[in-house]
């Protein structure tokens, strides 16, 4: 391991990775890797997570292709120094801000979007001129093996390395000195990463999670809008890796009087998208492993929580499948309402008045995303100014990821 890192540092020192032509060649090679191996990628995702090709293309392959193409088209602009204004007092001085690579970068990726969350940060690191060590998650073993075997065939081995392994490898990597660490995963591990980085004053980017709520205010408008809302909620919960996504809708907030309408719409949509019951389940990923399966099943063990199930609830331990499940008003102090769910269970919390969503959300820690289905401009403004989250998306779910915001 130390040898690999020493090589990465040597390579960086030679200055080869700073040249725009090197960066472009690596990005083009990455695009080729994706284009030429689509089928293998689909296969690995199906093996590790039961993802269908459409989901895999929409959320992983397609996203990555776009990211590389966009980066290639903007690279020269991004690399160029930017002029900065100089006060008259300093005339005729000139000033500029110049991007420089940090050096040797460590990327930890997570298991739920094993390609996107590994390669998208890699695209960033390469475009900025760094050398990289990528440590994919061993909880998606087929994808990890694919990356370990295939990346060396396309990218510059001296500058981009992939290391297989589990938490113990991760711990060892964290003892070493990096110029930047990019981590996607849970807040618990995020703290460990940052604490290790502190020893070397290494800057970090931590992409974590939270309980991302969806506020629903539009059911009282036209039936077609209500239908679209239901589709987008279902698509935003069970579409991405059956809810195992940092930006998946975690729970829904809706006015009491509209709850039953919403639940009926959701049930209809779930049946249409994913099948009538657990036996005929299709177009949906499975739970990644026994440990996560058990964790989710345990969330439903609490009798008060189990009582609040209004749809679904069946599980298949052998196939690691939990059918799309809706709960109505589980106890607010239950684990399902305090921990990030990261699975196919959707609590619906009812309020007397939809405006109460703001206080409800503020009583919990900042989520990664707040989704709000509403056409009330005043309410939109209140949500924006009175809540705090990574992102806010109005009237849709998930799509904000596909932007370069």
């Amino acid at each position: 391991m130390e040898k690999s890192i020493a090589e990465l540092r040597e390579t960086f020192k030679t200055g080869g990775t700073k040249s725009i032509s090197w960066r472009k060649s690596q990005l083009k090679a990455l695009l080729q890797l994706i284009n030429q191996n689509e089928d293998s990628i689909f296969k690995a995702l199906d093996q590790d997570l039961g993802k269908s090709p459409v989901e895999s293309y929409r959320d992983e392959v397609g996203v990555l292709k776009k990211s590389v193409t966009y980066t290639l088209s903007c690279l020269e602009k991004w690399v160029a120094p930017k002029k900065a204004e100089v006060p008259l007092l300093f005339f005729p001085a000139k000033a500029e801000v110049m991007p420089q690579p940090l050096g040797v970068v460590l990327i930890f990726s997570s298991w739920n979007f094993p390609f996107t969350l590994a390669l998208d940060p890699l695209i960033g690191a390469i475009s900025a001129g760094n050398t990289v060590l990528l440590k994919p998650s061993d909880l998606a073993p087929a994808c990890m093996s694919f990356l370990v075997e295939t990346i060396p065939k396309y990218l510059d081995n001296k500058a981009v390395k992939v290391l297989a392994g589990g938490a113990d490898i991760g711990e060892r990597l964290l003892q070493l000195k990096w110029d930047k660490i990019f981590f996607t995963g849970s807040p618990r591990v995020g703290r460990l990463v940052m604490a290790a980085a502190a020893k070397h004053l290494t800057p970090v980017t931590l992409e974590l999670g939270g309980k991302s709520p969806a506020i629903v205010d539009t059911l009282s408008t036209t039936p077609s809008k209500a239908k679209v809302t239901a589709k987008r909620i279902v698509g935003g919960k069970w579409g991405p890796c059956t809810g195992q996504a940092c930006i998946a809708i975690d729970y829904v907030l809706v006015e009491e009087k509209l709850a039953s309408t919403l639940i009926e719409l959701l049930k209809k949509t779930i049946k249409r998208f994913y099948g009538e019951n657990i036996k005929s389940l299709k177009n949906i990923s499975r739970i990644v492993n026994k440990h996560q399966f058990q964790r989710l099943v345990n969330l439903l063990k609490d009798p008060d929580v189990a009582d609040s199930i209004v749809y679904g609830g069946s599980v298949d331990e052998e196939k690691l499948v939990i059918e799309p499940t809706i709960l109505l008003d589980p106890p607010l102090d239950s684990e399902i309402m305090s921990e990030e769910i990261f699975g196919p269970l959707l609590p619906i919390i009812t309020l007397k008045n939809v405006e109460e969503s703001i206080d409800f959300i503020n009583s919990k820690s900042n989520p990664l995303v707040i989704y709000a289905f509403t056409e009330d401009e005043t309410f939109k403004k209140r949500i924006l100014s009175e809540t705090s989250s990574g992102t806010v998306t109005f009237n849709d779910s998930m799509v904000q990821y596909r932007y370069s915001i």
Binding site: S224, D396, I405
Partner: protein, 493 residues
């Protein structure tokens, strides 16, 4: 009687006290008070008033703590602070506006923007060498971004610390901006709490402690540290101007006790003597024959640092290399501008950040060799300087040297340019501030996407069919031909 009361009243500031302070500020923040444009404006105007009405007291406190010349206090602490306030007052409206972001065909129709929101309750820990500037400049940034703030000034500049505490309480909104004075115990108590951001100015050792404490709460940090800022001096330059500028950046900035002070010089063997002579001439012009008598030099902050610097000077292989200066007065904590020629690269004075009035000159055969020397010397510095008229050398310098900030043909002045981010890289720090960068440092840039209900793309939803896959591939690629083809295929299927 008065003394007794004072002792009783001075309660211990422990973790409980820190918790209470944070709770009070968080309660204030939640009311939305600090978010309003009006509040931010009144605080910044109050700070301007505070600086205008208390200049003599500030100068006096700096003289007590550092023997800082009035000239330096007025210009480098008060004036720069006033400029920061004025810039924020002028530009804040513009900074606070959401920034439109481009959307793509994939999610048409939609609009997107980036909204700046305050992070919440922030902690500013400042340093002793520019006690007013390094305390209040970050506070200006935090106010302009709409946060509630705790400021912990450095106990090593006690007169400044207590004046800051008094003035902030008198002029600013104490329900939202507080000063906590103290040393290690008080700082530790503060660091145990959960903050939404911490900005720390100081050294690498304490920075590691700050970041480790921040890690427990996933608190983002800005660390403004230091390093050995080198000055490369080429030949064929205006030697007089270069020398004067180096002197101003070194001894004119708190007598070398500044994070961006030129730390050491690299020049060619051929040019070294000329350079040393120029220094001797200009130093005498600036500070007189006996610099210890000059009123224009700060003193060394305390006896710890005086001893540290003496040790650097007295190291056997270094003390013989003095070519100018060397006078000391331990009682008054004074060390004269001292220049060394050709100290060994492995001497103490070349290993740690000097932070004082000692200037080693290292010589190389060719000026291009300077770059290797800088890179081999360990951590990336906060600043690097080059004096040259050679375009190629300038280009190589800018492209290969990695430091927080670079200046060609001057020293230190880049900190006054608000359009440049001020911060370090690697060992010299992370994050930056000054100008709009201060506002950004204390803001969360929230991504916002607005969608409507029209044009719902059925492709996103199950059942997932091969036809949908093809169409999706075409759409995501953005190729019009691909999209038409796929649509035709879809309709014909």
């Amino acid at each position: 009687m008065l003394m007794e009361n004072k002792a009783e009243n001075k309660a211990v500031f422990d973790a409980e006290s820190a918790k209470e302070v944070v709770k009070e500020l968080r309660d204030s923040f939640v009311t939305g008070k600090t978010k309003s444009h009006r509040w931010r404006v009144t605080q910044l105007k109050a700070m301007l008033k505070m600086l205008d009405e208390n200049e003599p007291q500030i100068v006096a406190a700096l003289r007590d703590d550092l023997s800082k010349p009035e000239f330096e206090s007025s210009l480098y602490e008060i004036q720069i602070l006033k400029n920061s306030c004025r810039l924020a007052l002028k530009e804040m409206n513009h900074w606070m506006m959401p920034e439109k972001a481009k959307t793509s065909l994939t999610t048409f129709p939609s609009s997107a923007e980036i909204v700046s929101e305050p992070l919440g309750v922030v902690l500013v820990i400042s340093a002793w060498n520019y006690p007013f500037l390094l305390s209040l400049d970050p506070v200006v940034g935090a106010i302009s971004a709409g946060n509630a703030i705790v400021l912990k000034p450095s106990e090593m500049a006690p007169a400044s610390s207590s004046l800051i505490a008094k003035l902030v309480a008198d002029y600013l909104d104490s329900s939202c901006i507080k000063v906590v004075e103290g040393a290690v115990p008080e700082t530790s108590a503060l660091l145990e709490q959960k903050w939404d951001k911490i900005l720390y100015t100081g050294n690498g050792r304490v920075a590691r402690i700050v970041m480790a404490a921040a890690a427990k709460h996933l608190t983002p940090v800005v660390l403004e540290l230091g390093g050995k800022s080198p000055v490369i001096v080429d030949s064929n330059i205006n030697l007089k101007v270069a020398t004067r500028r180096i002197i101003a950046g070194k001894w004119g900035c708190n007598n070398g006790q500044a994070c961006i002070s030129p730390d050491y010089i690299i020049t060619t063997k051929d040019y070294a003597t000329k350079l040393v002579d120029s220094f001797k001439c200009e130093l005498e012009r600036f500070y007189g024959k006996d610099p210890l008598e000059s009123k224009d030099l700060s003193r060394i902050v305390n006896s710890n640092h005086f001893d540290r610097l003496s040790k650097l000077m007295d190291e056997e292989k270094v003390s013989s290399k003095i070519v100018h200066g060397g006078q000391r007065n331990e009682k008054n904590l004074q060390i004269a501008p001292t220049i060394f020629l050709d100290v060994p690269v492995n001497s103490l004075i070349m290993k740690e950040e000097i932070f004082g009035p000692l200037l080693p000159i290292i010589t190389v055969d060719k000026v291009e060799q300077s770059f290797d020397l800088i890179h081999s010397s360990g951590g990336k510095p906060l600043a690097a300087y080059l004096f040259t008229n050679n375009k190629k050398l300038k280009r190589k310098f800018v492209e290969t040297v990695s430091a927080g900030g670079l200046v060609v043909n001057d020293t230190a002045v880049h900190l006054a340019i608000h359009s440049l981010p001020f911060g370090g890289v690697g060992e010299s720090g992370m994050g930056s501030y000054h100008g709009k960068f201060s506002f950004d440092a204390f803001s969360h840039k929230k991504a916002v996407l607005y969608r409507g209900f029209a044009g719902d793309a059925f492709l996103r939803y199950p059942p997932y069919t091969p036809g949908k896959l093809t169409l999706l591939q075409a759409l995501l690629s953005g190729s019009i031909v691909g999209i038409i083809r796929a649509l035709l295929g879809w309709f014909w299927a």
